[in-house]
Symmetry: C2
Subunit: 781 residues, 2 copies
């Protein structure tokens, strides 16, 4: 039912829980060691390239750290647990001893400390002076996960003794004693040395049998002169380390570089086998220096990402800009660069949600990718196409037809990956069943909705014909089999589901679900009708898989007779059959805290089930997604009704509220909700991100900026631009790609201007504008 991780509501005024710089929009970090909040910073300083994901744990080990390294898509299932992304052996570790004294920020005196993540190229730089007893040293650590070579991680340390000669020992290697909070997914590995210099670990997952090879190579330079030094090998259970020992005289600088490669048997670029590929690759890159490899990686960030993805905010401070840079950095570092995989609710930034993907992808993350790097958006939808196998099985298991997408998705061929059991009930002491996997069904509408939005934004006919239509039709077929006939009321209904408001575990005619199902069936019917008239070849191809004629009749009939809750006399859409009859309570006090689930201190889930309290944007999200269908009055009335009743106990809630508030002219509220969005992970709640970042919340930051303040929306089949920026901002500049044309838009308080690299049509204030290539159009606001 719930995603079981504490999330934050945030508090206003951009109080970040991590340091930033006034003169650098691309830096987050800490200016003093903070060992109490390791897990927060490990998540925030995540490094990844869509294949490899590494949490920002420090090189040296600390209690309560959570080292995680994941390879996208390498799911494994341990015994009866839900399948999850296995935590790989750690390659980041370095144990440094100075005259036998172990480097630790917990000991000695640390000065001039700084550690930061460069959001533009993903490099982490840490530097500090360390005094232990009578020894003073300067340390500088740098590292990155390469965006130019998905298998590559490079790390560099510079050490200079400042006041006397020392002996320095560095231990660096591969540590397979990591687990997923105690669960071990890997078999005991083969550990060995190649060419007296390359340490390698080979292992495989215990159930899914994905093979891995991790290889490390180290180079040492003393005053820029390379040392020819073979490591002293240390092999323990599930561990292999290379040990180096160097004598340094005062002011002499030692540079230590670690090159590491990670290969898996699921890699599409595999040449021979994981062990050889890993070694060959490492021998090649190991000849280049750190700076050159970083340059190659930065170039990919610039050329293929930042150049296509502009958001520039001029405001009274740079925190909004940093927030949207952070959001985009994380979305891109977690985005699979290949099809067949999806972004988990936490990406690869932590073990939360086990790497599983939810509706978060289509409803919250997809817009960012489809408007910026449509190829990535296509990858995500190909995952859903491959997922038809699992989704059909899930439908079949439930006695339904078509494709029912899993609430929690891991491998595309898996039917459902949601856990069945949650924690014990605090009152009875008994473990509680988690119902999401069985009854949180709207995801099947959401996937079809995402496909449709993508097709509108990109006009990607190839994808539509090869995969997109089939996804939508199979989803429609599911809904046609899922809805049930109510004899008394002479209509189809959808009973016993969980909608976006997960406080309600057995809702009937949940507005969001019914609208989605209704839209999906109608959309399916339209596609069939359209293909029959305009594209018989595709029609015939699909007809071999699905009886389209029969499906068409069923969709026309059932969509016409499915009950879709209309606004009542007060213009309020009832959230479900019973919601409006429940008791109302004042929830202001829960909304004021920056901790989630505070309401559970006073009510348990059974009680919340019978109160007019909503967990997150529900009817309001429906209104936002289907805004074309509703009048301003309905929007206003429902905002007034539901907003005060919403606790925002989900990171998905703020961004929708921010955009809707901006639409409704509630500009201060919109900005407050924008700030809340930014602070889900970046904010002062130090517990909010320990299990990983909220990827949909991050996508929400971009959404509020571009869809909200920037005013970008898909209106029927058209692009609509209706911007309004916050009063503290001077201007907002952003780019989007609309149907293969790149648009650059500048918004100020007085006007907005737009230029595109092709002919583009868009709507503003209900008027249609035609833009010629490279023509700049400026419109007064």
């Amino acid at each position: 039912m719930f995603k079981q991780i504490i999330q934050t509501k945030g508090v206003s005024k951009m109080l970040f829980g991590i340091d930033t710089r006034n003169d650098d929009d691309w830096w987050i970090g800490v200016k003093a060691p903070d060992i109490r909040h390791l897990s927060k910073y490990e998540s925030l300083m995540f490094q990844g390239n869509g294949y490899l994901g590494i949490r920002g744990a420090l090189e040296e080990r600390y209690l309560n750290e959570k080292r995680d390294m994941f390879v996208m898509g390498s799911f494994d299932k341990f015994q009866d647990e839900a399948t999850e992304l296995p935590n790989l052996p750690d390659i980041v570790n370095m144990e440094i001893q100075v005259d036998g004294k172990l480097l630790s920020l917990n000991h000695g005196i640390v000065t001039n400390y700084s550690r930061g993540l460069n959001l533009k190229n993903g490099e982490i730089v840490r530097s500090f002076d360390w005094q232990i007893e009578d020894i003073k040293l300067h340390f500088k650590f740098r590292r990155f996960v390469s965006m130019a070579d998905c298998h590559l991680f490079v790390s560099k340390v510079e050490v200079t003794p400042l006041n006397r000669n020392i002996r320095l020992q560095i231990k660096s290697g591969i540590d397979g004693q990591q687990t997923n909070f105690g669960t071990q997914h890997f078999v005991e590995s083969t550990k060995r040395l190649f060419n007296a210099r390359f340490v390698q670990m080979q292992t495989h997952t215990q159930q899914s049998q994905v093979k891995f090879a991790l290889t490390e190579y180290h180079r040492l330079f003393l005053d820029e002169e390379e040392l020819s030094l073979n490591p002293h090998l240390e092999i323990n259970r599930r561990q292999i380390f290379a040990n180096y020992s160097v004598d340094l005289v005062k002011n002499q600088e030692l540079v230590f570089i670690k090159y590491a490669t990670v290969f898996s048997s699921t890699d599409k670029d595999l040449q021979k086998n994981v062990s050889e590929d890993s070694l060959i690759e490492l021998k090649q890159v190991g000849r280049m220096d750190y700076q050159e490899l970083l340059r190659q990686s930065s170039q990919v960030w610039d050329e293929t990402i930042w150049n296509d993805c502009l958001v520039e905010i001029s405001a009274h401070n740079n925190k909004p800009q940093i927030a949207v840079n952070f959001a985009r950095y994380q979305l891109l570092a977690n985005m699979p660069h290949d099809f067949g995989m999806n972004i988990g609710a936490k990406g690869m930034t932590g073990e939360g949600y086990k790497g599983h993907a939810f509706w978060d992808t289509e409803i919250f993350m997809l817009p960012f990718f489809m408007f910026n790097i449509p190829q990535f958006a296509q990858n995500l939808l190909i995952y859903r196409y491959l997922g038809l196998i699992g989704a059909k099985r899930k439908a079949h298991q439930g006695g339904y037809q078509g494709a029912q997408y899993p609430w929690e998705a891991a491998m595309p061929t898996d039917a459902e990956s949601a856990p069945l059991w949650g924690n014990a009930d605090i009152i009875t002491g008994e473990p509680m069943k988690i119902l999401s996997g069985s009854t949180e069904q709207h995801v099947t509408g959401d996937v079809a909705f995402g496909v449709t939005q993508y097709l509108k934004a990109t006009n990607d006919q190839t994808f539509a014909k090869r995969m997109g239509y089939e996804i939508i039709l199979q989803c429609a077929k599911f809904w046609a089999s899922r809805i049930t006939w109510n004899n008394e009321k002479n209509r189809y209904e959808i009973t016993d589901v969980i909608g976006p408001d997960e406080y309600k575990e057995h809702a009937s005619n949940d507005a969001f679900t019914n609208y989605m199902a209704h839209w999906c069936m109608k959309q399916g019917a339209e596609i069939i009708s359209d293909l029959r008239q305009n594209d018989l070849r595709t029609y015939e191809k699909l007809n071999k898989k699905i009886n389209l004629e029969k499906l068409f009749r069923s969709l026309i009939l059932k969509s016409a007779m499915l009950y879709v809750p209309a606004p009542n006399a007060d213009s309020v859409i009832p959230q479900d059959d019973d919601y409006l009859s429940y008791k109302k309570i004042n929830i202001d006090k829960y909304k004021k805290t920056n901790k989630n689930f505070d309401i559970f201190k006073d009510f348990d889930l059974k009680q919340l089930d019978k109160l007019q309290v909503t967990k997150q944007a529900d009817v309001l999200l429906l209104l936002l997604l289907f805004e074309d269908d509703f009048s301003k009055e309905v929007l206003d009335k429902n905002w007034d009704y539901y907003e005060p009743k919403t606790t925002h106990d989900s990171s998905l809630s703020f961004s929708s509220h921010a955009i809707l508030a901006n639409d409704l002219g509630l500009y201060n509220r919109a900005f407050d909700y924008f700030e809340n969005s930014c602070q889900i992970d970046l904010g002062k709640n130090m517990d909010s991100s320990i299990m990983g970042l909220h990827m949909a919340g991050l996508a929400g930051v971009w959404k509020v900026v571009v869809e909200g303040f920037g005013g970008v929306r898909i209106d029927h089949d058209n692009l609509r631009i209706q911007p309004h920026i916050p009063k503290t901002w001077n201007y907002l500049r952003y780019s989007i790609i609309w149907q293969t044309k790149k648009l650059n838009i500048l918004v100020t308080h007085r006007h907005f201007s737009i230029v595109a690299d092709g002919r583009v049509k868009f709507i503003h204030q209900k008027r249609i504008y035609q833009l010629e290539p490279d023509e700049r159009l400026t419109i007064e606001l």
Copy 2:
């Protein structure tokens, strides 16, 4: 081949690596916090009762700690790894916060620190004052594993704020994120609360399906008044914790007691099921106070152990006494109190050797138990009787007959539990094969030898007839099938084995192995002959399982024709066919260090295979075990030949050398070797015990004192007593049980006196003495 753990050679002069007290022979501990050597102290301060074993990790967590809790006999096998004792969820943990500041010896100022283990009753007591910022507190921790109730662990904390009021938070629970150095043996557990107070975790091993329930109950007292306080529950993955929060005024004492029970589905005393039993038991003991439960446990230590197991040493300091107390404490804390289990080479004190038992049991540990608590010795041999199933399978797998005991034994029904692969070769980088499981075969003779020694010492006819003879006969049958005929030399031989000197991986006619095999076959023939004449009923019973007539003929023939290397012209017994032809080197420099395996810095295993260098007592151990068969001259000459060539790269080596040196009149050498024995674990080498204690080394300490200095030996079928104590000792007093009679012996430099509770015959200086009940006999030395 090798047991892959670093062991120590120790250095002389009783330089303990742990503090002791001059006025307390039963205390070891530390007088200041030492976080660098956690693993050493965790092993030394092990607590156990033969069922439950818990390493002495501190309550609060530290980096590099190794929390281990084992239940005897609950082996599990993860994937392709060797079967091992799984590390259970931790019940020792306590996280304490004072006004939000986490208790850690790494922070604040710690004064008056003391932590010690009471060797008499297994209680650990730790007390200190802690100042953090402006807060001063006094802490006292106490805990024990009950010897009166094998399922019970009790822990108590007293906290007093010394200078102001504070808020104290205590988190205590069950943490299943523990692993065996990264390997997880348990499935994700069920975690729940009973009666709002009892936290329970249920889980089971992933392969062997052993079920466990661990339950905790907490009581709090403020100024001796019990607080009625339900915990705030915290449930994470594989974790359940109870949180308590109490306000303390200055000088007020809070007492926090944790009661924990552990039940497994293999328990022979199980009533209903692990969950209910665990809860019922806890509800019962939870009514008693800490002191009363400790008293019950101490009483069992006293009445059933210490009263039967006297060793009193009067010397110029109490370190020898502490060493032998420590050794006996650990032997008893690790001794299974039930049959069907064995003591691992590390007992339950660490993950080294995976809980597996070796020849260490019969050759080194068994004498301590059979001379002190014969019932325990019988338990160990019943394990071998049950092990006939696995041993027969192992013989069968190798193409042999009878029973071939595994080199590494886990479950008695397992054939062989030795790992097949070791670490990578440092030179080639390739993983190396471990041959011990296939070729270290003498263990099958050692088991039969142990049974015979036990039968002589106890005259336990019931065991002999029901199990003992069958073990020996099956071992003899194995040897008869194992030896091979050499046509050229017209004799049986044993080729390609590893003897005690594990540097030699392919020895032929290894003296130790051939003697053992020869003795075993002769012993088998004698048993058959004896039974046929004196006990036809047992003969017939055994004859149904083994064709005794056929076996008898085979044993007589083959023992007569098996080549047994005799002393050569120089009275030296060749260690194997080739040893004496190998090159000699001087190994003094390796013997002087207190690190093991130093010789591997200069030679690899292939080179050592061709050098006259011996890892541990080999021919010398043979001479000690079969001393009746050899002249003083042979003993002298072989000592002179082999002792200088022995590196003592095994903890099994020192004690045999000490006893033999004492026999040979080399009293200073004997004492040096005794000191080395004591320092294997207690010594200054802080790395020596991190994977657990050396149980056979500890047994060796007792052996040197009682068999060496005390002079106790089995001479053919008789007890022989030939004492000689070290010159720095005033006297030695000890007890043994000989054939059900308890003997008390006092040894001084001038004489020894002996008294028994029954009629006893013994040999001294080749003369037979008859002792009447309660008669004290004093013999001049």
